[in-house]
Symmetry: C2
Subunit: 172 residues, 2 copies
């Protein structure tokens, strides 16, 4: 990430990244399929963490509560260092192919959450609806969390957004 910020994403080669990380090119490719994957390194672990949160939610939790548990579980990924997340976001926003990959990771995460809900016995279309609502909250929470001057933790923001969503749904 340092290198992407210093030199620009295009100007940074796999050789540069490997050198900075103290890896050989060969070792780099054992960890990452390509340069893009450096930025999405955490996404598999994020999905596993959220799925664990979903699976471990109490059996009597509703679909939305189970999704809230998945969001709570993800909060550990968004620690005190918001600057890294901001830099990563800026690099992704500036490159359409990275933005596409981000959207695909989010769609994959949404499909996994829906599958996890079905395994908990949530019927369709509720499983898909709750999962997609969770992804929406996740994305919006992330956008707020990286905002300049934002003091709340990711977990706090996500919980407040879920409450807002419920309040809006209750109005009609």
């Amino acid at each position: 990430m340092e290198l992407f910020v210093e030199r620009g994403y295009e100007q940074t080669t796999v050789a540069d990244i490997a050198e900075r990380a103290g890896l050989t090119r060969r070792t780099f490719f054992r960890y990452f399929t390509d340069k893009r994957e450096v930025l999405f390194n955490g996404s598999e672990r994020l999905q596993q963490t959220m799925m664990a949160g979903l699976v471990n939610a109490p059996a009597k939790a509703s679909a939305i509560e189970a999704v809230a548990a998945a969001l709570d579980a993800s909060a550990g990924f968004f620690g005190p260092n918001r600057e890294f997340a901001r830099q990563r976001r800026a690099v992704i926003a500036a490159h359409p192919d990275l933005h596409e990959r981000e959207l695909i990771k989010m769609a994959t995460l949404g499909a996994a959450l829906a599958e996890g809900l079905r395994e908990r016995g949530v019927a369709e279309p509720d499983a898909s609806l709750a999962a997609e609502a969770g992804i929406a909250v996740f994305r919006i929470a992330f956008g707020l969390w990286v905002g300049e001057g934002e003091q709340r933790s990711f977990g706090e923001i996500a919980r407040e957004l879920l409450i807002r969503l419920k309040a809006m749904a209750a109005v009609d």
Copy 2:
């Protein structure tokens, strides 16, 4: 679309498409930037139609009601010919680059709906939440609507999904 089904998406050239449509190559490129755009031809009109639905919702409509109006407005795009939509979906699902473009179109639509809600005076984060919920309903409704044996119209499905979402949000 006929050609994509007959010959496969990769095997279909711009020249083939232009010939079938009775266009010259040059005329083709006046309408479409590339072969992929043939499949996403309607997405700009879809967005305009949904935005018009949003703008024309009663001034006192809540954010969710305004999104429901946008979904209602889109229903005209999903007429009796579900076979075309099924074929299109199959071509997109089989090609990651088309799937990426589909995700980007959805993200763009979501951003436009959120902007439209802000213009209606809906504050953040409610505008983004309601817009993203609308996109979730749109995508899930589409998936159900193209399902084999599905009899309900797109508009009926979308309305039922919104009701389910509200019911789920009310439970917690």
